[in-house]
Amino acid sequence: MKSKVGKIIASISLSLALVLVLMSECPSKERTTLTPEAAHVTVYMGPIPLAQKLEAVFEAKHGDVLTVVSGPWCRKVRAELEAGDIKADVLHGADPSIYMMLRGAGQLLPYSSPEAMALKPEYRTGAENFTLANGRYAVIVYNKRFVSPEEAPKTWDDLLDAKWKGKVVIGDPLLCSAAFAIACSLVQLHGFNWDYIKALRDNGAMLADNAGKAAEVVASGEAWVGICVHDAALRMIKKAKKQGVESPLVLVWPKGGAIAIPRPVAIVQDAARSDASTALAKEFVDFVLSVQGQGIAAKFGFVPVRADVPAPRGIPAEFKAVMPDWGWMRRNDQALRSKWESIMHGE
C-alpha cells in the first residue's frame, strides 16, 4: 500500500517535471537561434529600459546576437564569481567600485576601444580594463514645496545649515556603493577631514538605502534637501512634465563640484570564449561609446562622455565636477566604513 503513495508522488513529480521541460522549450534565444560557432555575447546591464533600447539598436545591425540580463547585476556577478566563473561577457553600468574589485581578481579583459579616443579628458582613466561610458553625478536636490530657490543650498557645506536639521537625506554608504563613493568624496573634498560627516550626523541626516532613493524621499517631503544621483531626479522631473504636472524636485549643481559616479563598461576575461564572440563583445563596447550609443544613454538622463553628443536637458552647459579617488576607496574600503560607522553610530 505504501508503493501506491510512491506511484502517486512519482507521477506528480513526473508531471511537474514534464511541465517544466515543456516550459524550458519556450523561446530562449540561446536554444533557438544559435549555432555553436556563431558569435554571441551575454551582456549584464541596467536599468531595464536603457538595456532594452541598447539591445534593440545593436541587434538591428548585428542580428540576434545578444543575451541581455537587465537590471542590477553587482550581487549576481559577485555570487557567480564565488561559484567560480562569471557568466557575462560584457558588463555595463553600476559604478567603478565593482570593476575595481573584478580587475583586482583578474576578471576583466584589457581593451582600448577606438571610440575611447573621442572621450572627454575627464573620463579618460588611462586604465584599459574598463572604460567610463556614462556620466552620472551626485548633486543636491530640494523640494520646492518646502524650500524657496533663495534659501536652497548651493554648496555641500550649505547642507550643514541648522535649518535643515532632520531634513537632509543621503544614501547609506554601507548599503550602496555609489553612496559610499559620495560620502568618501565629501571627506576628500574637505581635505580628507571627517568633520563634514560629523556635522551631517549632528544635523540629523536621514539615510536611504541607495543614492537614487534620496530623490524619492525628498519628493515626498519626508526630507527637504538631499544628495542624490542626478539621473534619478531628472527622470522624475521629466516624467512629471510628460504627465502635464510639475515635480516638486529641483536639482542644484553644487559650487564645490558635483561628485562623478560614472557608469563603466568592460569585457569579462574568458579563455573559453571564441574569437568571434570576443570581437563582438568589443563591438558592443564600441557601440556603447559611439555617438549613437551615447545618444541613447543621454535620452535616459546620463551625461555623454564624448563632446560630440549633446547633454540631456536639465544638465547645465558648464558645471564643476570632482572625480572620487576610486583606488583610495578600494584600498581602504574596510577602514573607511569603520570610520563612517564610528562617527554615525558611536562617539
Binding site: 523561446p27 543575451t67 540580463v69 542590477p72 561559484a83 559610499f180 538605502d209 553610530h345
Partner: protein, 542 residues
C-alpha cells in the same frame, strides 16, 4: 517512501545549497578559516543589530499573536456580525507587499505624513509629534503585516475544536475566561506557536520594512547589515551573519518543541460538531466598532493610500484630483516585458506553490504522525531557509546550481526551486499545527475497516485538511508572485518575472508606477484566491 522523497528533495534543495554557502563562509582566499565569523562579532554594530533584530522579532511575534488570536476568537467564536467581510480585510492586509506597505505607512505617519501634518497644524507644533522611523515603527508595521498568519492558524483550529471539552469545563463551573485560557488556548497552541515561529523568522530576515523605517534614523537590524555586507562585495560576512539568523530561528524552533512537549492536541475527533458562537450581549456593538476601526486603520487606510499613489501623475504631488490619472496603469500595459513577466511569474509561482504544498504536507505528516528518527530535523530543514535574506539565498542557489552536476542556472528551474525553498516554510508552518489537531483515530478507523493507507489519507485526512492545504498553496503562490530579490539575481533573458519589472518601475519611474503594478499583482492574487475558493470550497483565508 514518501519520507525518502521528501528527504532527498530537502537535501538537494536546502541542505546542498546552504552547506555550500556555509563552506564558502569558512574560506577566505582559498584557505579554511573562521575569520569572517570573528570579524562579524568584532564589529560592535553587528552586535547592536543582533540586539535590535531580537527585540523587533520578539515584539512583532508577541503583538502578532495577541492581535491574531484576539481577532480569530472574535470572528470565529462570537456572534460578531460581518464575519466574511472582516476575514476579507485581514486577507487584504497580508497581500499588500511589505515594501509598498512601508511606503504607505510613511505617507500616513511619516514626518511629512498626513497625520503628523494634521497634528502640527492643529496644535501649532514645530516638529512632527509621531516618529515612525524607529524600531517601534518597524515593529508596528511588521506586526500589522504579519498578524494574519496567526489569525489563519488560530481560526483554523477554533472553527473546528470539539466544543465538548469546553462544555465540560463550563459545566464544572469554569468562567468563560477560564475556559478560554485553560482549554481553548492550550488546544490551539500548536497552531499558534507554529504561526508565531513563522512570524518571528520572517521578521528577522525581512529587509524592506527595516530599511524603509530603520535607516532614516540609523537603526540597523541583522537583515540590513547583511545587505550592507553584500553591497561591499563581502559575501563571507553576509554568510556569517546569515548563519546567525539561522541559529536564531533554530532557537525559536527548539523553543516551540519544548513548549509543546509530547502533549496531545487532538481537537478534531470523530464526534466533533461545530461550536455555538458566544453571545456577546451588550459587548457586541463595542466589539464590532473596535474590530471595524482596527481593520479600517490597518487594511483599508494603507490600501487607499497605495491606490491613490498608483494614480498619481508624479511622486511627491498631493493626491488631489487634478494630480490623478490612469497614466501609470497605461504605462504598465505598454511595458515590453510585462506580458512575459506575468506569464513567467504565474507559472513559476503556481509550480512552486504546488510543490511547496505537497512537500509541506509530506513533512508535516511525517513529523506529526510517525515516530521516524530524523522527523524533527526534516521539519527544521524545511523551515529555516526562511531565515536567510533573499540575496544570500540566491547566492546559495547560484553556488549549488551553476556548476555540474546540477546545471540549472539561467533556466526557469532555478527560480522555481528558489521559490520552493524560500516559501515552503509558509506552507509547512500553516499545515503542521493543523495536522496535529486531527485525531489519528479517524484515519485508523478507516484502515481498520479495510481501507488502504492511501484511501484513509484521501478520504479522511485530506478532506479535513483541505482548507489548510489550499491556504498553504495560496501563501506560497502569493509570496512567489510579488518577491523581488530572488528574481533579480536569478533571472536571465526570457525568465524575467514580475519582481524584476516591479524593481525596474521603482528604479526608473518611481513609487507611483511601482504602486500601480503592485495593485495589479494584488488583483491577480485575489483572482487566484477566488478561483481556488470556487474549486476547493471555502478557504480559510477568505
Amino acid at each position: 517512501m514518501a519520507m525518502g522523497i521528501a528527504g532527498i528533495s530537502l537535501l538537494l534543495l536546502v541542505a546542498y545549497p546552504l552547506s555550500l554557502l556555509l563552506l564558502h563562509s569558512l574560506e577566505v582566499g582559498g584557505r579554511p578559516t573562521v575569520s569572517s565569523y570573528l570579524k562579524a562579532f568584532a564589529e560592535r554594530q553587528n552586535l547592536v543589530a543582533l540586539g535590535n533584530s531580537l527585540y523587533v522579532g520578539v515584539a512583532v511575534t508577541l503583538l502578532a499573536v495577541l492581535i491574531g488570536v484576539g481577532t480569530a476568537w472574535l470572528i470565529i467564536r462570537t456572534d460578531i456580525p460581518f464575519k466574511r467581510g472582516f476575514r476579507g480585510l485581514i486577507f487584504l492586509t497580508f497581500i499588500t507587499p511589505p515594501y509598498i506597505g512601508a511606503i504607505g505607512w510613511i505617507q500616513l505617519l511619516g514626518r511629512a505624513g498626513y497625520l503628523n501634518s494634521a497634528l502640527m497644524r492643529a496644535f501649532n507644533l514645530s516638529a512632527p509629534p509621531i516618529e515612525l522611523y524607529s524600531l517601534e515603527g518597524i515593529i508596528a508595521v511588521m506586526a500589522i503585516y504579519l498578524y494574519p498568519l496567526v489569525f489563519w492558524a488560530t481560526a483554523g483550529v477554533l472553527e473546528r475544536t470539539d466544543p465538548a471539552l469546553e462544555d465540560a469545563a463550563a459545566l464544572s463551573g469554569g468562567t468563560r475566561w477560564r475556559v478560554f485560557t485553560t482549554i481553548t488556548l492550550p488546544l490551539a497552541s500548536p497552531n499558534i506557536l507554529s504561526a508565531a515561529i513563522l512570524v518571528f523568522i520572517h521578521t528577522i530576515s525581512c529587509f524592506a520594512v527595516a530599511a524603509a523605517l530603520g535607516l532614516p534614523t540609523r537603526h540597523y537590524v541583522l537583515a540590513t547589515r547583511i545587505y550592507a555586507a553584500l553591497s561591499h562585495y563581502d559575501v563571507q560576512m553576509a554568510c556569517a551573519l546569515s548563519v546567525v539568523l539561522v541559529l536564531l530561528s533554530g532557537g525559536a524552533f527548539l523553543l516551540q518543541r519544548v513548549l509543546l512537549g509530547e502533549g496531545r492536541y487532538t481537537t478534531i475527533t470523530s464526534r466533533s460538531r461545530r461550536p455555538e458562537p458566544l453571545n456577546l450581549g451588550r459587548w457586541r456593538l463595542p466589539a464590532t466598532i473596535f474590530l471595524a476601526a482596527f481593520t479600517f486603520l490597518t487594511a483599508i487606510l494603507p490600501l487607499l493610500t497605495i491606490l491613490s499613489t498608483s494614480l498619481l501623475k508624479a511622486w511627491g504631488l498631493p493626491p488631489a484630483l487634478g494630480n490623478l490619472s490612469w497614466g501609470n496603469y497605461l504605462a504598465i500595459l505598454q511595458d515590453r516585458l510585462i506580458g512575459s513577466a506575468l506569464r513567467n511569474s504565474l507559472i513559476f509561482a503556481s509550480l512552486a506553490a504546488s510543490a511547496g504544498a505537497l512537500l509541506s504536507f509530506v513533512v508535516a505528516y511525517i513529523s506529526a504522525r510517525t515516530r521516524l528518527p530524523g522527523r524533527g530535523f526534516l521539519d527544521l530543514m524545511a523551515t529555516f531557509p526562511l531565515a536567510i535574506p533573499g540575496p544570500v539565498l540566491a547566492t546559495a542557489m547560484i553556488l549549488a546550481f551553476m556548476n555540474p552536476p546540477f546545471v540549472l542556472y539561467n533556466t526557469p528551474w532555478i527560480i522555481i526551486l528558489a521559490y520552493i525553498v524560500a516559501f515552503t516554510p509558509f506552507a509547512l508552518r500553516n499545515l503542521s499545527g493543523s495536522l496535529r489537531a486531527i485525531d489519528p483515530a479517524l484515519e485508523e478507523v478507516a484502515w481498520l475497516s479495510g481501507a488502504s493507507w492511501l484511501r484513509g489519507l484521501k478520504d479522511i485526512l485530506l478532506p479535513l485538511l483541505r482548507p489548510e492545504i489550499l491556504t498553504s498553496w495560496i501563501l506560497v503562490f502569493l509570496m512567489g508572485l510579488r518577491e523581488i530579490p530572488l528574481s533579480l539575481m536569478l533571472h536571465t533573458q526570457g525568465t524575467e518575472t514580475v519582481g524584476v519589472v516591479l524593481f525596474s518601475f521603482w528604479e526608473t519611474i518611481g513609487v507611483e508606477a511601482l504602486s500601480a503594478l503592485a495593485v495589479i499583482v494584488m488583483l491577480v492574487t485575489l483572482a487566484g484566491h477566488l478561483i481556488l475558493g470556487k474549486l476547493g470550497g471555502r478557504l480559510e483565508v477568505g
